[in-house]
Symmetry: C2
């Protein structure tokens, strides 16, 4: 290994060790919350056969295709890096269907890759955290209340601005559009999905051009999109627009059941918002989006919905409901704006000082005793003057320095300067100093 | 998403949820041990510019090269998936040198990819766990004792067969080969490295052919490789071969310092074994390899060494010492031989039963109260007969089922059948049932 020239790669975020401490703490909290709710973790390989990655119909996704440097052509199936965790889940469920218990509750926290143009909050390599419940043949509606609440529970524990989940229901949209005579539901949804970006005038114009909407149909579609709220009044306002159908009623009942059920368990958790459309055509029931308060410009940080067929093997269909958190998007904002910082820059709680090199072995034994009891400890790499060793700790935010003195072992809290006699087999730091914790800053403080 | 045909991909290991519980527990133990020793975690992007991946001189490595499906030619720098965590570390250190504190102690647990022919314990996608200490300009020898001990500490906590680290020193090999007149040290090392595979006769023959070794020189090189032990007698036996040089003496002093220092702190941790050669030419001091006892056929599961120049920016050089654990190799053996199993198949500790659908909300509140106190809880997905709900828990190994009865809330240990009154705000399971733990089986029990 010799000289290297370094050019940063846009779209591939990396953090300094301090930033990684924040990311790791966030990933740990997500995982432990998912496990508290009984979800099993899985990890799938980073690659899928290209034909399966392109199956979703989303050929607009920029897939990274792999080839082996010395490999001949056509030796292997063509492989690509997965661009989400849903395609891998579908394949995993089918591959292991005989060995999984259904309903299968799984979480998955992994990197995904998209070769798209990088911009703020949009990366080429990023982490997603997904939870899904997948049934075999059928899946009860109550999971559509359960899943967003898992995410609200997880997100509420993170050092990030408050997130509210906004929900709609595909049956409401489809039932209403069909009732007012707009029969190209998928295209109508795709246009309404742009409402926040382009505004109502442009949406009306696009509806007229793309799905032949009359001014009255466009007005009604926009009126539906304006409705939001957290209780049964939402359904009343939809009905007050004067249209009805069996599908619409079914959707309204589910939507009200969702927001009322969710808010009874976790008040303020889920709001019905009928402009939520979600572009993907495989959703069939509840759909979800969520933004961080004050950071709506970042777009949705947690989205998903109900799908009646994640995958099918020809004999059996697997319906599900799931949500996905855009972890890197959230973290890059939180780190970029300096909204949180770790309590120290390294895991170390105690630096054991070294008087002179001949005493290093003794210092190592002290550190070993501390670690045996779960206290992260490091030994000073040099036997420089104590002042220098304290500076070494201070620069990294290590709170305690341990000395072997003529009066015996002592430990100094270098923040207060307090120094006390201590035995490495018994001394414990205050619990808040034991491991790194995250401190909210600015708008989060 | 519609029908899918599934064909397994050789070389890309994936586990069922039970296997992932084992993997996750092993990864957690590695990470927490590295942090106890004061190492900072970093995560680098999965890709590096191709020219940097090929810089190490190891063009025999089968790199996976990326291209964008819709991307034109030559739009971006050519990227490949990293095949180890050392090349990314070198790039990360150089890119962030001004912001890192040296000596920089980092651990990194990530997937790497190699497009090689898959075989037992050799994958195309696998997890490595690396620890390195990187200095700026210089790095004290004591880190060569510290680093293998970090790995021994970590490995000893895992549910795997015992691992002993075997060490040699590049200075001993180089000093000795030069002293006996074999001046192509790199090639000699490469040949001696094959000793375990091809035996002493073939090695002698190869030495004669490739580095012009006389029979006496070959005999001496093989005699050196036979020496092993855990104390200063190792150096005596090398000296007894009758050759000496300043470099050889320096190496012997380091090697004895290493094994004696390591074994004083952790008895039985490190053995000197002079046949350890390590193919890579960038090692300059201690080198390490380790096998699991009884599973030597798997090859080394933890290797590394000292290098005087990880990387250089032309002005500054960064020496280091590091070891890497082949996590997937270890786990595939442990899972494949059934040497360990998780105490249950899901994270759930308590399944809250549902009497009838109208009481689901009550069951959700009970589960919520349990989770608030850190008890993983799930609500029965159906309100089938209690017998069926207990079966649901039993199949997954969930130890407790919670009932709302006319006499009040009760919790049943379905293993013993014992059922007691319980309050979700106060009841706690025995600590060994709270989360999943790993149970050793067979040779590990």
């Amino acid at each position: 290994m010799t000289n290297m020239k370094i050019a940063p790669l846009s779209g591939f975020p990396e953090w300094l060790p301090e930033g990684r401490l924040v990311e790791q703490e966030i990933l740990d909290t997500l995982r432990s919350t998912f496990e508290l709710h009984g979800f099993s973790g899985i990890e799938t390989r980073a690659v899928e056969p290209l034909e399966q990655l392109l199956r979703k119909g989303e050929t607009s996704k920029e897939v990274y295709v792999l080839s082996r440097l010395h490999g001949g052509q056509g030796q292997d199936a063509e492989l690509g890096l997965h661009f989400d965790l849903t395609v891998p889940l579908a394949r995993y469920v089918l591959e292991n269907a005989g060995k999984l218990d259904f309903p299968f509750k799984r979480y998955q926290i992994q990197k995904v890759w998209r070769g798209e143009r990088p911009q703020d909050g949009r990366f080429r390599e990023f982490i997603q955290a997904d939870v899904d419940v997948v049934g075999s043949e059928n899946l009860a509606f109550h999971h559509e209340i359960e899943l967003p609440l898992v995410m609200v529970d997880a997100l509420s524990k993170l050092p990030i601005p408050r997130v509210v989940v906004r929900a709609s229901n595909r049956k409401v949209a489809q039932g209403f559009y069909e009732a007012i005579g707009l029969n190209d539901v998928v295209e109508t949804l795709r246009i309404v999905d742009k409402l926040d970006k382009v505004g109502p005038k442009v949406v009306a114009q696009m509806l007229a051009e793309s799905v032949d909407a009359s001014p009255e149909q466009a007005r009604l579609a926009l009126a539906l999109a304006e409705i939001c709220g957290a209780d049964a009044s939402v359904a009343d306002r939809v009905r007050a627009l004067g249209y009805s159908s069996q599908l619409l009623e079914e959707g309204l009942e589910e939507l009200v059941g969702l927001v009322e059920g969710a808010n009874e368990l976790l008040p303020g958790s889920v709001v019905a918002d009928l402009k939520i459309a979600r572009g993907l055509d495989y959703y069939t029931g509840s759909v979800f989006e969520s933004t961080m308060m004050g950071h709506e410009d970042l777009g949705s940080v947690c989205s998903g919905g109900r799908y009646d067929s994640l995958v099918s093997d020809g004999k059996r269909t697997y319906p599900g409901v799931g949500l996905s958190i855009g972890v890197s998007r959230m973290i890059s904002r939180v780190l970029g704006r300096g909204l949180v910082q770790p309590s120290r820059r390294v895991p170390t709680c105690v630096l054991v000082a070294v008087n002179e090199e001949s005493e290093r072995r003794h210092a190592e034994k002290t550190a070993h005793a501390l670690r045996l009891r779960g206290i992260p400890a490091d030994v000073s790499p040099s036997s420089a003057k104590f002042g220098k060793q304290i500076k070494f700790a201070d620069k990294r935010g290590i709170p305690f320095v341990w000395f072997a003195t003529e009066e015996g072992e002592q430990v100094k809290d270098i923040r207060s300067g307090e120094q006390v006699a201590a035995d490495p087999d018994f001394w414990m730091p205050p619990v808040e100093d034991l491991t790194v914790c995250l401190l909210p800053v600015g708008e989060l403080a």
